[in-house]
């Protein structure tokens, strides 16, 4: 086990605490760079979605994970970014300009949402963000001169420095990856700056933060604006990836998906956003795989365990019927959320830390290390 000897604050906030980080992140980066030449085009497309979802996840982590302000309205921010991009693109505005404009406009809207949210706590904030998302969705459907209403908008191919970047090309993947990496690095820097410390202080106790001289309102609005702006940038990429956007894509369901991303990944570290995004995006291909291959697999297993061929065929049919039931995906979603909340509250990244610590401390690992503390004195109403 490695012990880090820290002698000053600079040591404590280093992005790469020791050389091992360079090796592991270097390998990861190399793998990501070679991915387009190895993976199938379907998986590549999913990987692009992972990048976009992870970018939104990072944005949501800044707001929910680190500032403690829950939001179920991020689909609306994504929509604003996507529509800004699609609208400006009609006037032959170059990509870098409308990309940044999408982020800027969404950031401004985020700040405007942040102001009313200043007075709201917990569940009231959740419902306020849901209301905001509904209103945005309805505006998108009704403001036909700009958004073309429910007919939706086509998004043309992206032109970067005079070359066309099609939505399925490796170049588009690299663009999304670059945006994700820059977002993560930016967020890491933000979180170790005084602003980030203020965010965490507000999350842990607003009253204590205020008494330490932190301008709570200012930092909450900042957090909303930053989170919204990043989501807006992701929205621009999302629009290009889908090449067609319409209001019914940006529903509450999508907002919930984003919350699930950080919940499953883990809300206490930026790793969570990426892990959660991988989980959420890859669940679709995984379910399709199960649907196609599971019946045969189970029937095969039944056959080797001594069931007759007629019996095995029967099993195969019934499993196939079950797998193609309509709502199966929703049910699996629901079960996954509940199981994560109940048994893995720290998310996938928390599980990784536990496994790592288990081997580092072997055989001295205690389960209680990661136990959450229960607070029976309810304070949320009085806070």
């Amino acid at each position: 086990m490695r012990f880090l000897f820290k002698t000053d604050y600079e040591d404590d906030i280093r992005l790469f605490p020791h050389s091992g980080y360079f090796v592991s992140y270097g390998i990861l980066f190399a793998l990501l760079l070679t991915a387009p030449y190895v993976l199938s085009s379907y998986l590549m497309s999913q990987l692009v979605f992972v990048c976009i979802y992870a970018t939104v996840g990072v944005a949501l982590l800044i707001l929910t994970g680190f500032t403690g302000q829950a939001s179920l309205g991020h689909a609306a921010f994504l929509a604003i970014g996507a529509y800004t991009a699609a609208y400006l693109q009609q006037f032959d505005v170059p990509f870098p300009v409308y990309f940044l404009a999408a982020g800027l406009l969404t950031g401004v809207v985020g700040a405007l949402v942040g102001f009313p949210a200043l007075r709201l706590q917990g569940i009231y904030l959740v419902i306020a963000t849901i209301s905001f998302a509904f209103i945005v969705e309805e505006i998108l459907a009704r403001w036909e001169s700009v958004t073309h209403g429910n007919e939706g908008m086509r998004v043309k191919t992206l032109y970067l420095f005079g070359t066309a970047v099609s939505r399925d090309s490796p170049a588009f993947y690299f663009l999304c990856l670059a945006v994700l990496v820059l977002t993560i690095v930016g967020a890491l820097n933000l979180l170790r700056s005084p602003t980030g410390r203020a965010f965490v202080a507000i999350r842990d106790s607003e009253t204590a933060a205020r008494s330490m001289g932190i301008n709570v309102s200012l930092y909450k609005v900042k957090s909303f604006a930053i989170s919204a702006a990043i989501t807006g940038l992701a929205g621009c990429l999302f629009a290009h990836k889908l090449s067609f956007i319409s209001p019914e894509m940006f529903t509450l369901q999508l907002s919930i998906e984003f919350i699930i991303v950080i919940l499953i990944g883990g809300t206490f570290s930026l790793h969570g956003a990426v892990l959660g995004a991988i989980f959420i995006v890859m669940i679709d291909p995984f379910l399709t795989y199960l649907k196609d291959d599971m019946p045969g697999l189970i029937a095969g297993m039944a056959a080797t365990m001594g069931a007759g061929s007629e019996r095995a065929a029967h099993i195969q049919d019934s499993v196939a019927a079950f797998a193609s039931l309509n709502g199966l995906k929703g049910a699996i979603y629901g079960i996954i959320i509940v199981l994560f909340v109940l048994f893995e509250p720290l998310g996938l990244y928390g599980r990784w830390l536990k496994i790592k610590l288990y081997f580092q401390l072997f055989p001295l690992y205690k389960r209680a290390t990661f136990k959450r503390q229960k607070i029976y004195v309810k304070s949320e109403r009085n806070r």
């Binding site: 007075r119 569940i123 419902i127 509940v338």
Partner: protein, 291 residues
């Protein structure tokens, strides 16, 4: 003028629907400070239970009604035992997520079991209308209004006058202190979930003739009932009904007098405005912050 009154009355009827679902939200919140995002789906499940008893098994309407409510009460206890109790005492965010997950699960499973068609239940109120002057009121809407008033009164009395109600309020304020005072907190929470699910079941059965029974009905109505509960100040039982009626009236007025599209948005606009001016809702208690 007659148009206005007719709109007002149908708004009130619609609002009572929201109020009835909002009652369930408020009950659970009042007693445990848990926000149950699956409330609408519990309502949907109640409708399906009633459909099973009445439509498929051919029971008498009132028997089926009672059966559905009883089944929902049991189901509420089961959900509490499996999903809520293990995370009691953890941050609200986790509990909200767990109930969202529960909602997802209920929606898809009921879609798998009963299919995704619209179902109808024959009720004694399905056909008749009551005429007051030139006003026309459908029986099914009146039944919802009556049930809302009765349930609201009963629950209000229950919470404020009975020992069990006092125990529930105590455990919501401070579970640990309530436990030290001899209140079996776990059982209290379990009973609250049973009552709340039973109220949702009532709502589901009563709404069956109006909205039909299908697996997404809970999501749609739950999302409207939620602002109703917030508008009334999440912890207040009469507030839930008043909030519901307000939302219903706003919705039907906006649908009648304003341009198309306002109908769905108006409740949320009003909600945001109220939250801006009075963050604790219309009937919420304002409690001082303590360090």
């Amino acid at each position: 003028m007659l148009d206005f009154v007719q709109q007002l009355v149908s708004g009130v009827a619609l609002g009572c629907v929201y109020g009835l679902i909002a009652l369930g939200f408020v009950l659970v919140y009042k007693a445990t400070e848990v926000v149950n995002f699956a409330q609408g789906d519990l309502m949907m499940l109640g409708g399906f239970f009633a459909f099973t008893f009445i439509g498929m098994l051919g029971l008498n309407y009132w028997l089926g009604f009672a059966g559905a409510v009883a089944a929902m009460a049991l189901f509420g206890m089961l959900a509490e035992r499996l999903v809520v109790r293990p995370i009691l005492g953890y941050p609200q965010f986790s509990i909200i997520m767990a109930t969202i997950g529960l909602g997802f699960f209920l929606r898809s499973v009921s879609g798998m079991i009963w299919g995704t068609d619209d179902f109808k239940i024959d009720t004694p109120f399905s056909q008749g209308v009551v005429r007051i002057g030139s006003l026309v009121l459908a029986d099914d809407k009146l039944s919802v209004i009556a049930a809302t008033i009765i349930l609201c009164t009963l629950l209000y009395l229950f919470f404020n006058k009975t020992t069990l109600g006092t125990a529930m309020r105590a455990s919501s304020e401070n579970m640990l202190a309530a436990y030290y005072m001899g209140i079996p907190v776990k059982r209290v929470v379990s009973i609250v979930w049973a009552i709340s699910a039973a109220v949702a079941g009532c709502a589901g059965v009563l709404l069956a003739p109006i909205t039909f029974v299908h697996s997404n009905v809970g999501l749609v109505l739950g999302l409207k009932a939620f602002p109703a509960a917030v508008l009334g100040g999440f912890g207040s039982i009469p507030g839930a009904v008043v909030g519901g009626v307000l939302i219903g009236v706003i919705e039907s007025m906006a649908g009648f007098y304003l341009a198309e599209g306002w109908k769905d948005v108006a409740p949320y606009v009003v909600l945001l405005a109220v939250l801006l001016l009075k963050p604790e809702g219309l009937f919420g208690l304002h409690i001082r912050k303590k360090v």
